[in-house]
């Protein structure tokens, strides 16, 4: 089958999205980042309150600005991927 792999990937993504919907409807979750949870565990493990000894040099002023930078990051990446795949596919058509 020509699109076997595409379909497999699609199925996996649907499965993933489905599991998300199920979890969403069972109980309360914070949907916080795992990176942040590490701080709590540090305190739990060492039994003391850990004080970070350095602060980020720049922190996005709000959640909106933070998501802007995340979007920019994704957009830059997607642009590069799209550009080069377009370039490659075009090259192939001319050659054959």
């Amino acid at each position: 089958m020509k699109y076997a792999m595409e379909l497999t990937v699609l199925a996996l993504i649907l499965l993933f999205a489905g599991s998300f919907v199920i979890v969403l409807n069972t109980g309360e979750h914070e949907w916080g980042g795992t990176d942040g949870q590490a701080g709590d565990i540090i305190n739990e493990m060492t039994g003391t309150e850990y004080e970070p000894w350095a602060d980020p040099i720049y922190e996005p002023a709000s959640g909106e600005i933070e998501s802007l930078f995340f979007c920019l990051q994704a957009a830059i990446g997607a642009l590069v991927i799209g550009f080069f795949f377009g370039y490659y596919y075009r090259g192939r058509r001319i050659n054959t």
Binding site: M5, E6, T8, V9, L12, I13, F16, S19, F20, V23, G27, H29, E30, W31, G32, G33, T34, D35, G36, Q37, A38, G39, I41, I42, E44, M45, T46, G47, Y50, P52, W53, A54, D55, P56, I57, Y58, E59, P60, E66, F69, F70, C71, Q73, A74, I76, G77, A78, L79, V80, I81, F84, F85, Y87, Y88, Y89, G91, R92
Partner: protein
């Protein structure tokens, strides 16, 4: 997988900087050779870097009820090896540390080691091993990328556990606690990441399998067979 700014004691920060540095230096050396001798592969290098950009910006919700993001380093590792990939990882981590307060400059060495070095090293080993025993190429890429993602988090858990051993039980207890937070969240993400990267690999074979042969990623025979399967 990012250890936040200031969340590693200074001695450990320094330690991980020292561990990561040789990989980056050797990566620079390899990159120079690549730029000089295999220029036609540079677009692929940009794509590999862009993948890390996109995937590590996506914070996905997972079955555990918390969010985490994939790493995307598997593609670079398979195509260009772990050393050049460490430089791609460094660029992404710098971006996130400076603009997003995500990760940090003091923890850059540690984060680079887990995401840019340990994960790609494993991906590279898995890919080479899989090719040697004749495993299906796409399955091998899938495994390499998914395991690189998972391993990144295992290494992060180990880094945190080394710096913060539990009062009772020491390193192991601490490691299990940190790994516990990451593991459940990360397994589904790793599977998705592996699948997406395997699919991308298919498209690269579609359009430019000869570059993969030049890079030594595929042998002539395998490339011909995969191309034939497509047609």
């Amino acid at each position: 997988m990012h250890i936040m700014e200031g969340f590693l004691p200074p001695a450990w920060c320094l330690f991980w900087f020292l561990v990561s540095a040789p990989f980056v230096v050797y990566g620079m050396y390899q990159l120079r050779i690549l730029m000089r001798e295999k220029r036609e592969a540079l677009p692929l290098l940009a794509v590999a870097g862009a993948f890390i950009f996109v995937l590590s910006s996506l914070k996905l919700p997972s079955v555990s009820g918390s969010c985490s993001h994939p790493t995307g380093t598997g593609l670079g590792a398979v195509l260009f090896g772990p050393f050049i990939t460490s430089i791609l990882g460094l660029i992404v981590l710098l971006y996130q540390a400076v603009f997003l307060a995500h990760g940090g400059l003091t923890t850059l060495g540690a984060n680079l080691f887990s995401m840019g070095i340990a994960g790609p090293l494993l991906a590279y080993a898995v890919y080479r091993g899989g090719q040697k025993v004749g495993l299906n190429t796409y399955l091998t890429v899938f495994l390499a990328a998914a395991l690189a993602d998972l391993f990144t988090y295992v290494v992060t858990a180990a880094q945190l556990a080394l710096a913060f051993p539990a009062e009772a039980g020491g390193f192991v207890t601490s490691f299990l606690a940190f790994a516990g937070v990451y593991a459940v969240t990360q397994v589904p993400l790793a599977i998705i990441e592996g699948a997406v990267i395997a699919l991308t690999f298919k498209y690269i074979i579609d359009v430019r399998s000869e570059i993969l042969v030049r890079l030594g990623v595929l042998s002539d025979a395998v490339a011909a067979r995969l191309q034939g399967a497509r047609a």
